[in-house]
């Protein structure tokens, strides 16, 4: 162990920011896809 690690806030922000952005982006992608899927399903239920 190399003693007390000084500073390092940029690493902390990097980790939190990356996680937040990734979850946000994925969430938006899934929500839009599920809305679009539902719209298409409601639009043509009898298409067979």
């Amino acid at each position: 162990m190399n003693g007390i690690v000084v500073g390092g806030w940029e690493f902390v922000w990097a980790a939190y920011a990356l996680t937040a952005i990734a979850l946000l982006a994925y969430g938006v992608m899934v929500i839009t896809r599920s809305r679009e899927g539902r719209r298409r399903a409601d639009a043509g239920p009898d298409r067979g």
């Binding site: 162990m1 007390i4 980790a15 996680t19 990734a22 994925y26 969430g27 899927g37 399903a41």
Partner: protein, 237 residues
């Protein structure tokens, strides 16, 4: 095989909102309120997001494995949609874990990757899941795609503990003393809050993502033409 029923219940939104609130609170506590850890200083705050992500990732892997096994036994495509969601979100979380681990290792050990058995197993399973997602892209028949990816998910998930132990032995020569998980009790609140938060968010994402898979399957599996009688039978020879 029947096209799966896709629910349109609103519960994912409730979970999503609750999860985001918990995450915000937990992160705020972890970043600003809780004092810096004695040895590690502020870098240790990465743990308040890394550890909850790891716990949730484990849950998602078990969920995928459960869905795969359920599909093989019950042949109901709704399990296939859940497994697909689990595979994709499992891969996302594994990728996040590897990045967080690398970001944590750089200031602490001076290298981006310190071959910690937990993290290395996560990376191996990440590539395994990505391989299964790739396999799903190349198989068109929904039934065959479901069965093959379920088999591959079972094989890959069972491999996880074996990878963990083999890396642990392989890496035992220069094993660091403190593992990232040794967290003093005063820091538990942000940890728990974030854990609940990310779990709720991920459950919501799993539900929504499996609905997306369900819609796609319904479009792919056309309904039989109207003149089919309910149960035509062919007595032959």
């Amino acid at each position: 095989m029947e096209a799966p029923f896709v629910s349109t219940h609103r519960f994912p939104w409730v979970l999503l909102v609750a999860g985001v609130i918990c995450l915000a609170a937990g992160s705020w506590l972890g970043l600003f309120v809780v004092p810096a850890e004695h040895y590690m200083g502020d870098v240790q705050r990465i743990m308040y997001v890394h550890v909850p992500t790891a716990w949730t990732w484990m849950v998602v892997v078990l969920f995928s494995l459960g869905s795969a096994i359920s599909f093989l036994f019950m042949n109901d495509l709704k399990w296939d949609t859940r497994m697909e969601a689990g595979l994709e979100i499992g891969s996302l979380l594994a990728f996040l874990l590897c990045c967080q681990g690398a970001i944590w290792a750089k200031p602490t050990w001076g290298v981006w990757w310190d071959w910690d058995p937990r993290l290395t197993s996560t990376a191996v399973l990440l590539f395994a899941f990505l391989g299964i997602l790739a396999l799903r892209k190349f198989v068109d028949d929904p039934t065959r795609r479901a069965i093959w990816s379920a088999v591959a998910t079972i094989i890959a998930s069972i491999d996880l503990p074996i990878v963990y132990f083999s890396v642990k032995w392989w890496n035992s020569l220069h094993q660091q003393q403190s593992s990232p998980e040794t967290v003093a009790s005063t820091f538990h609140l942000p940890l728990r809050l974030n854990a609940i938060g990310i779990l709720l968010v991920v459950i919501a994402l799993l539900a929504l993502r499996s609905r997306v898979a369900g819609y796609r399957l319904r479009e792919q599996l056309a309904e039989p033409p109207s003149f089919i009688t309910s149960e035509p039978t062919g007595e032959l020879a």
